[in-house]
């Protein structure tokens, strides 16, 4: 009955709360015993609370949000050593966890977090009091009453609405839709709806830039109209009602009664989100559930009324609007986190497994350059398919090159086996490409985020996307989605200046935000750059010093080192803390996520000119073109991208320095020689430079000549990570399984150069 977002919220939050408790206790104990708190643990607890709060906020569980927000604030004080993690605080936070647990139970049974206000209120009061104590304000027993009362009234108001909502839903449930509509119909309905909503959304977004374009209004209208029709036909009356109201608004715009102001479009976009969510709910459990239905209806009616009165701003509109925008923002974070649980679910529930969804249906809108037809497949199935294909290749080789055939000549057999060989290669190529998806998927989501955030912040921003068709592994794409949201948000929040400020210093009023994906020397680079303020070295240093992250003698730190500081947990140069940013959790999460996929972040910034962040992600599981080389018995794959040339060395071109480093003169350049066999402790065919081959590789500005025995050939290689057990090895980026089933290590040229250098230095 509960929609999937809520369900995954409940289970995730439960896990987090379970996780928090032991940490809390540990923290309390260590604090009592030694008077010190472990910053790592505090951060961990903080993050967990933060995540619960974020999702709860999006789903509208306000009590949970309030409670976790207060807990978070208290923890922040603990982290900054302003509050002690004594008995009182530990106990209080543990009780907070208990309360959140109770609230989650409540949500699971009644779909709302109401009914425990008294408990919540008392905990919140206690927390607030502790926060005041921590801040050094008078620890009096009278907490700020007015704030409380205000929150209280808002609370009860939404509670009522939710209660109404509940009772309305119960009425619907009695009428069993499933009796009339077959699962196939439902499935088609959800698929089509997704497409239609996509169409509406893209038309609306374009419309905002070009409010006069009638064609776009018509397109949005058509999409919505078909959607409404489908809803009505399938019997989802609430959706039909809402979409009808939305349509009325569009109708008004179409007929010129109203203008396509950005505020109106904003509301329409919000409705699209509501529909989408409802559709997701339907596809999962077949029932239509819309949160805050009466509120939405009122909201729509108000807008329509405002058109009729020819009064552009309805009175109630701003009130309703405000929390909405925040919700929308939270939605982005949530959307990112959605796909993984969905996949998990499909492995658990056989009923949902059959469901085929089109997550990114083809869009007719002219701005969409990439047209895709997708089907959702369980990742584990895909992985086993890839493994099976690998086996197939090996089996094929075993048959066609069977030793029993030696000495015979079968003309027909030869012909069929070469045919088989070709097909197997094709299958292999095809399967390998299946796991790869273009970054367009995550890039596109930024359009909406940038749109919403810039509107909210009152800034004009032009978003440019480059290299959308760069393909990255599915898992990697999931892991970089969140960091990307954080970075884009930071650029908009802190980087790009408001229009007035920009024009004042001679920049274009419209800020520029660029997202680019590209392959770069065996890595994938995701570049996020803006032309805003850039990072303020002095401010960072000052903050870091205040927080005790650095010592006084930090003047000598390089820019890169200084910028790295922003990834420290709790670091924020923002002066005020809001719900969205400023606590310094974001960048910490960005770094953690990128490190998870063994990536790095480069920061380039010029004060006043902008900030450029490069997420450098290794090509785990990506396919590369590699050159297969042999050293003794070992076969290595060198990424073709990093190879400049291969040469045979003449003896008189070699210079040896006194520390034993050999240099080879290639044209006008002196290139250091890396003897791979020495680094890897293997026996080569020949140790003489002129008898082997030198593969000249480049990494950024450095180059080196790797000594090998023989080049075997070029091949496409699927990069596999070496086992976790083995860990990272400098100079090796992974391995690949070759056609004959053998494993070839893939050389990481950058790491190899470093390794060779450190060896010479030692």
């Amino acid at each position: 009955m509960i929609d999937e977002n809520t369900l995954s919220f409940i289970s995730e939050s439960r896990e987090m709360i379970d996780e928090v408790e032991p940490y809390l206790i540990e923290l309390g104990q260590s604090s009592i015993e030694s008077g010190e708190v472990n910053p790592e643990t505090t951060n961990l607890i903080f993050r967990l609370f933060h995540s619960v709060k974020g999702t709860a906020g999006f789903l509208g569980f306000n009590v949970v949000v309030k409670v976790t927000h207060e807990a978070e604030t208290l923890l922040d004080l603990v982290r900054n050593d302003q509050a002690k993690m004594g008995h009182t605080n530990t106990d209080l936070l543990c009780r907070t966890c208990d309360l959140v647990g109770l609230l989650l139970n409540q949500i699971e049974t009644t779909e709302s977090d109401t009914g425990l206000e008294a408990e919540a209120e008392s905990i919140i009061k206690e927390l607030e009091q502790r926060i005041l104590v921590g801040k050094g304000k008078i620890p009096d027993t009278s907490p700020p009453e007015p704030i409380d009362r205000k929150k209280n009234t808002i609370q009860t108001k939404t509670d009522n609405i939710q209660k109404e909502n509940d009772s309305a839903e119960q009425g619907i449930e009695e009428f069993d839709l499933k009796m009339l509509i077959s699962p196939e119909m439902l499935q088609r309905f959800t698929e089509e709806s997704d497409e239609q909503l996509e169409q509406v959304e893209s038309a609306l977004l374009d419309l905002e830039n070009d409010p006069e374009d009638n064609e776009l209004i018509l397109e949005a209208f058509r999409g919505l109209h078909s959607f409404k029709g489908n809803c009505g036909f399938t019997g989802f009356s609430k959706l039909e009602k809402l979409s009808h109201k939305t349509e009325t608004i569009l109708e008004a715009i179409k007929s010129g009664k109203a203008k396509a102001e950005s505020e109106t479009i904003q509301s329409l976009l919000h409705m699209v989100d509501v529909f989408r969510q409802a559709i997701a709910g339907i596809s999962l459990n077949g029932t239509e559930e819309i949160e805050n239905m009466p509120l939405l209806e009122d909201f729509m009616d108000d807008i329509i009324a405002s058109f009729k009165n020819a009064d552009p701003i309805a009175l109630s509109q701003p009130i309703v609007e405000k929390p909405k925008i925040e919700q929308e923002e939270a939605l982005f974070l949530l959307r990112k986190s959605q796909p993984p649980p969905r996949v998990e679910k499909s492995t658990l529930k056989t009923t949902t497994e059959k469901k085929i969804q089109k997550p990114k249906p083809p869009a007719q809108a002219k701005s969409r350059s990439i047209v895709r037809q997708d089907i959702r497949v369980d990742l584990t199935k895909l992985d086993s398919l890839i493994n099976l294909v690998g086996e197939l290749v090996i089996a094929e080789a075993m048959v066609t090159r069977n030793p029993d055939l030696k000495g015979y000549e079968f003309e027909n057999f030869e012909r069929s086996s070469s045919h088989l060989n070709k097909i197997v290669r094709d299958i292999q190529d095809m399967t390998l490409s299946v796991r790869m998806i273009p970054v367009a998927g995550i890039f596109r989501k930024m359009i909406r985020l940038v749109h919403d955030l810039s509107t909210k912040a009152g800034k004009k921003i032009e978003l440019k996307l480059l290299g959308e068709d760069t393909e990255i592994d599915k898992t990697v794409s999931e892991l970089i989605a969140d960091p990307l949201v954080h970075l884009v948000r930071n650029s908009i929040d802190h980087g790009i200046e408001p229009p007035q400020e920009r024009t004042a210093i001679g920049k274009k009023a419209t800020g520029e935000l660029l997202l680019e994906a590209k392959h770069e020397g065996g890595e994938i680079w995701i570049v996020i750059s803006d032309d805003g303020r850039g990072l303020n070295r002095e401010k960072i240093l000052q903050k870091a010093f205040e927080k005790g992250l650095i010592q006084d003698d930090s003047i000598n730190m390089s820019d890169q080192e200084v910028f790295e500081l922003i990834f420290q947990p709790g670091f924020s140069t923002a002066d005020k803390i809001t719900d969205v940013s400023g606590r310094g959790v974001g960048m910490d999460v960005v770094k953690k996520n990128i490190e998870k996929i063994k990536g790095h972040i480069d920061i380039h910034s010029k004060p006043g000119q902008g900030l450029k962040m490069i997420l450098r992600i290794p090509l785990t599981l990506a396919i590369i073109d590699g050159m297969l080389v042999r050293v003794g018995k070992a076969q290595y794959t060198i990424p073709l991208l990093s190879i400049r040339e291969s040469i045979q060395v003449e003896e008189d071109k070699i210079t040896t320095t006194m520390d034993g480093q050999e240099l080879v003169q290639v044209r006008n350049e002196l290139i250091p020689v890396v003897r791979l066999y020495e680094l890897h402790n293997i026996v080569p065919d020949s140790k003489n430079l002129h008898e082997g081959l030198l593969v000249i590789v480049e990494y950024r500005d450095e180059s080196a000549g790797i000594l090998i025995d023989e080049i075997i050939g070029e091949q496409q290689a699927v990069i596999k990570g070496l086992s976790n057990y083995v860990g990272n090895i400098q100079g090796i980026s992974g391995c690949t399984i070759m056609g004959d089933g053998e494993i070839s290590l893939i050389l990481d040229t950058g790491g190899l150069i470093k390794k060779a250098q450190s060896r010479v230095a030692a």
């Binding site: 099976l388 860990g727 494993i743």
Partner: protein, 169 residues
Amino acid sequence: MSEEIEVLNEDLYDDGEDTMKDRYFTFQVGKEEYGIEIMYVIEVIGIQKITEVPDMPVFVKGVINLRGQVIPVMDVRSRFGMEERQYDERTCIVVVTIKDSAIGLLVDMVSDVIDIPETNVDPPPKISRKPGSRFIKGLGKIDNQVKILLDVQKLLYDEELEQIASVAE
């Protein structure tokens, strides 16, 4: 902290694997027979080509391709500090899984799957000169024979490897 979690994991395993309780997979290394809890064992494969990986401790011989999965292989002999010997047709790779990663154990020869009730298991010897003794979990007595029961967790993750892991991270 990490120790706590490991202990917790072990508890979980024990609870969930009632049917496999007290069952041991035994193999031979040198003259003695060793046993590991059966729940860790996934499969046994013959010796195959091992691709050497640089910068590994001596007892990690490299990686093998197990139907598309790349798994590291540990030579149990050299892990015990025994002298290495040529692999022959009896040499086997016992694939075990722990902490979600599969690892191959190179042993001289596999023996059997046997039940050793807890009551027949003696604690490890207190005085020992062999470097391998720290992997011993207990000594199982069965039909006048003694099987040395190994702690798989320690066998795979003790000391050196943890250092490697931490350097890598």
